[in-house]
Amino acid sequence: MITGEGIVKTFKQRGNVLGAREVRALRGVDFAIPKGGAASFIGESGCGKTTLGRIIAGLETYDAGELTVDGLAMSALKPKQRQPHFRKIQLIHQDPYSALNPTRTIHQTLNAPLTLRAKQTGRSKAWIEERAAEVLSLVGLDPGSVLARYPHQLSGGMRQRVVIARALTVDPEMLVADEAVSMIDVSLRLGILALLKDLRERLGVAVLFITHDVATSRYIGDDGELYVIYRGQVVERGPVDTVIADPVHPYTQSLLSAIPVLHGLERPGEQPVAPVESMEDGQDESGCLFAPRCPFRGERCGERPLLQVTEGIAQEHACFYPERRSVVARPMSEV
């Protein structure tokens, strides 16, 4: 179980002579991902979802709040002590091209972490070889034909599978997939998504999916939770299919309305929401963060709404005027 409570992260950008500019990447984010569970963080670039993923994988520190891994508070530990816990959380990079060392064969890439593990657990060299072949088989690659190759000899999809195999060498508890399919050919994306789902089912690995493409988050399991993040704040949170079918926060609705409709196959939603556009998108720091772009803003929006539960709505949301709107396209066959 991995949880976060009120995680805050502020980046200081080197500014001009007048001083540094602060960028508030995360403004107190709560989340909980159970063992073997699934969650998706969705939002646009710069919303803080990637930073949150990196914090969870131990690659970035946080300024306030607490991250707990299996009940252990990470801020109470020294960096050296934290390391074995963060090893259980493996990040799958967006770019499978830079995630593998071009000068090392797949065999070398997999052997390094396995050798370390063999040393720690007193296993033999033969175990390393067996395990390397095993993790490759787990991700649907043929060890015989892949091991001796260099990354450049593999396609993007195969590389991403190798990256996942490498993460599996340390028996992780959770995989954090940051836009893991966005650089992969369209016809092969579902293969990687299906693999992540399959690993969840077979190995009980939890999957955290970080993406701007809401549709892909459905494919890692229907028991997953969706977190919609806007400017460092979770604005809506609930079961994947509930949030997609019945979004209540205007930002979620804008995001879902923006997804292209496959005319001919699908019929667009009846109440699409288009956010107000401004030259300075999202600079305002007071009140509801989405209010400057919100077509439905009301009197109370000068205050900052917190994630809350209201009657008759299945998911949590951070909006004073939540209202269900039908924004998502439906298949022709359903209508």
């Binding site: 050919d185 369209v186 409709v261 998108d281």
Partner: protein, 328 residues
């Protein structure tokens, strides 16, 4: 201004690239018609040859590539493949506007947008530069931007969506009526993408353009295009009216591609990835159908004969299996 939208006829176009293994075709024997005033979308994965095809429209294929055969006939310009030097340079910009892939990053970082508009005007011998800037301002205003302010800005002061709009403005400001957009929304956020697509549609209609959109994302084409052409391994495998192709794909690749798109609603268990991987320049088979290795309908004839593009009403499909079925 309206009524000038040119038609384009691409016939038997073959573009080859010189590699250590000899000259390999990136685009092979492609024929495509862009009707005046329509938006055509070309969809393909990496290595399908879609960007090469787009460059051929301007005769702008760079060495080691070259147009080996075929013609690109544009109304008012003639066969572009025969154009050279100064004529060609004039045609680009005046007749054909091109919005490059990652147009967000193709602005000059050292000059304001306004200066770049002036540069463009001077290099095309525009006499009324004042009028050109006025047009630029108007176009930017039409796309929902504060024109004066954007013209005074440097690239780094603009967001990705704004730069993309500047790219579209630069393609249109010389009054081109044929516009090519290469991956117009890649690397943009969903909401920005939706805005840009809306602008593309509106500007297309208002200015009376013929538009070609190149993308890997079927969703983008579905939103804007009247006609859809699907490329695979340098071949055009299927084309037709967008709604028809999406609603009832004929070619097994189109079918597979549509089935492989993650969808927001509907039964997710129906979706599945295509087996195998898309071919690269080096792995495209020399003879026979380019898609046969991943095809569930493959027959013996697919090994030896490249299927010809055959018209079925409004649709053109290049597949042996479909042909057999249509005639059965």
């Amino acid at each position: 201004m309206p009524g000038q939208a040119p038609g384009v006829r691409i016939d038997g176009l073959t573009v080859v690239y010189k590699t250590p293994a000899g000259e390999l075709p990136a685009v092979r024997d492609v024929s495509l018609r862009l009707e005046p005033g329509t938006i055509t979308g070309i969809v393909g994965e990496s290595g399908s040859g879609k960007s090469t095809l787009a460059l051929s429209l301007l005769n702008a294929v760079q060495p080691p590539g070259r147009i080996a055969a075929g013609s690109v006939d544009i109304d008012g310009l003639g066969d572009v493949v025969g154009l050279r030097g100064e004529e060609l340079r004039k045609a680009r910009g005046r007749h054909v506007g091109y919005v490059f892939q990652a147009a967000q990053n193709s602005l000059n970082p050292l000059k304001t947008v306004g200066k770049q508009v002036l540069d463009l005007g001077r290099s095309h011998g525009v006499e009324d530069l004042r009028g050109l800037v006025r047009d630029a301002k108007e176009l930017l205003g039409r796309m929902g931007l504060d024109g004066a302010r954007v013209l005074d800005s440097h690239q780094h002061e603009l967001s990705g969506g704004m730069r993309q709009r500047v790219g579209i403005m630069l393609a249109l400001v010389l009054n081109a009526h044929l516009v090519v957009l290469d991956e117009p929304t890649t690397a943009l956020d969903m909401i920005t993408q939706a805005n840009i697509l809306k602008i593309v549609r509106e500007v297309h209609a208002e200015r009376g353009l013929t538009t070609l959109v190149i993308t890997h994302d079927i969703g983008v084409v579905a939103e804007v295009a009247d006609r859809l052409a699907v490329m695979y391994g340098g071949r055009l495998v299927e084309q037709g009216p967008t709604r028809q192709v999406l609603g009832d794909p004929r070619h097994p690749y189109t079918k597979g591609l549509i089935r492989a798109i993650p969808r927001l609603t509907g039964d997710i268990s129906e979706a599945r990835a295509l087996p195998g991987r898309p071919p690269t320049l080096a792995t495209v088979p020399e003879r026979g159908c380019v898609f046969r290795d991943r095809c569930e309908l493959r027959m013996d004839v697919c090994e030896t004969d490249d299927p010809a593009a055959t018209a079925h009403g409004d649709r053109i499909v290049a597949c042996h299996a479909v042909k057999v079925r249509e005639h059965a």
